[in-house]
């Protein structure tokens, strides 16, 4: 029982990270139909920037802010340089473009930060034990901040004019243009959101899961799986999908085999894609964003 609770808790905190990455996928996909394969690299880059900033003597909070801001900037630059110039964004083109960015960012991180995996200093070091379940303070931070960020993103899409205009672009791009919403600005804004949320995921995860130039690949893929579980167009679905995936993974690792952990995520992805393309929580038409 304690084991189960321990696994569930670890799974939720892992899942919260996936959820944030998944929100990034949803933000971009709904507006421009692009699956951003560099989404995981946003997280990895943020982790590495923060680590090196702390290493060069910056206070932790300042390092985190610096990381988030610079990654958000990278996302915006990526949109302008790589997405914006393309007039006809087909599936093939978007996949290859974002794959190119992802590969380039990876190599850049390798060049700048070297090949080793490192962990960022936790916001609060240490932990405690509650009824036999050991809990790290960083895990609580992850859950808390991920929860706040998800709610903020949700509020943005539901309540603000800018958020509603993004939903309008996602649902009826032609009508959105006709009422005067600029699709290119919307796309830029969606990358800004994805970069920010992805970077937050990266700095939150780094103290526990460690960061290397390569860690974006798995993180990005898991985030995509989470987003797909939630139907790929819903923030709520992405969050639920992330938590579900995190829990399933830790349960598999705990009860079956650590090695199969990654296979489970993709098996789940394939099953869900084939059986319920609208996601397991999905009612496609109504649940957009």
């Amino acid at each position: 029982m304690t084991d189960l609770l321990q696994l569930l808790f670890a799974g939720l905190s892992q899942g919260a990270v996936y959820a944030l990455v998944a929100i990034g996928f949803v933000a971009i996909f709904t507006v421009s139909g692009v699956i951003n394969l560099a989404q995981g690299e946003f997280a990895a880059l943020a982790g590495l920037v923060a680590i090196s900033a702390v290493g060069s003597g910056l206070p932790l909070l300042a390092a985190v802010v610096l990381a988030v801001v610079s990654v958000a900037l990278v996302a915006v630059i990526m949109e302008r340089l790589v997405i914006f110039p393309v007039k006809r964004m087909t599936t093939l083109v978007s996949l290859i473009l974002t794959l190119g960015v992802s590969t380039g960012l990876k190599a850049l991180m390798l060049l700048v930060y070297g090949p080793n995996a490192e962990g960022l200093t936790p916001l609060t070091p240490g932990g405690f034990s509650l009824g036999g379940v050991s809990i790290r303070y960083q895990e609580l931070w992850i859950l808390l901040i991920a929860g706040v960020v998800s709610l903020a993103v949700y509020w943005f899409y539901e309540r603000t004019l800018a958020g509603k205009s993004l939903r309008a672009c996602a649902e009826q791009p032609v009508a959105a243009r006709l009422v005067g919403i600029s699709l290119t600005k919307a796309s830029l804004l969606s990358f800004l959101i994805a970069g920010t949320v992805g970077a937050i995921a990266g700095v939150l995860a780094s103290p526990i899961y460690f960061t290397s130039w390569e860690s974006g690949l798995t993180l990005g893929l898991k985030g995509f799986v989470a987003a797909t579980l939630g139907g790929l167009i819903s923030v709520r679905g992405a969050v639920l999908g992330g938590l579900l995936l995190g829990v399933l993974e830790t349960l598999t690792a705990g009860y079956i085999s650590t090695g199969l952990r990654d296979a489970v995520a993709f098996l789940l992805l394939i099953i869900v894609l084939v059986a319920r393309p609208a996601g397991i929580f999905g009612r496609t038409a109504e649940a957009r964003v």
Binding site: L161, K164, S165
Partner: protein
Amino acid sequence: MSLEVRGLHAGYGRLAVLHGIDLTAGEGELVAVIGANGAGKSTLLRALSGLLPVTSGTVHLAGTDVTGYGPEKLARTGLAHVPENRLVFPSLSVADNLVLGGYTRRRGPASARKEARDRAMALFPRLEPRLEQAAGTLSGGEQQMLAIARGLMAQPRVLVLDEPSVGLAPRLVGEIFSALGKLRDDGLTLVVVEQNARAAFAVADRVSVMDRGRVVLEGDPAALSTDPRVSGGFLGGGFAADADATTEAAPATGATRAADRR
């Protein structure tokens, strides 16, 4: 002139669809453009509202040359386009659809936005009780009303509508067109593209008939409705136009001509 189109050419890629369209609409005038499927009506509206690049020709909106403007800029300049099939934002509430309709006026005075909304509500009182409902749950007629109301929220000088009657029961078509008539009477300039010639003829001040990318006839509805080329169906009048046609026009219809050949 509120809207003045001269020698407009446009098309898709290498395929030219419009071959030199001239169209004008004065202030407070309701101009109907009719024609069969494939005549180029929707292409004309897409070119007018900047969704489709213009190959050559000019478009003036209230004296300003707006040729080559994108849809966002045109919306700001005062042209609102109510698209074919309504294209409301389905998961957003009716109220939010209206808010987005006023997107280009978001920095303008709140009082003007409220006034625009009150006017739209007065025009379509049916929308009032449904303001908090998701737009996707409205009936077809209500969605059309919402699409028009959304267009009005931009406080436009010219409102262009693409086939507002599609898929609506005749009574609703009447309701929509009488609303358009009211807007015209309030001084708004309207251009309505329609296949339902009868509905269009009933309220239009002037009618342009399109065929294969050209305006082939132009004039006031009373004169045009008796023109055999319109009532003959070849130009999209069909059955519907016959209703307004007098009996002397009917012998020239396609059916009778075809029957003669048999």
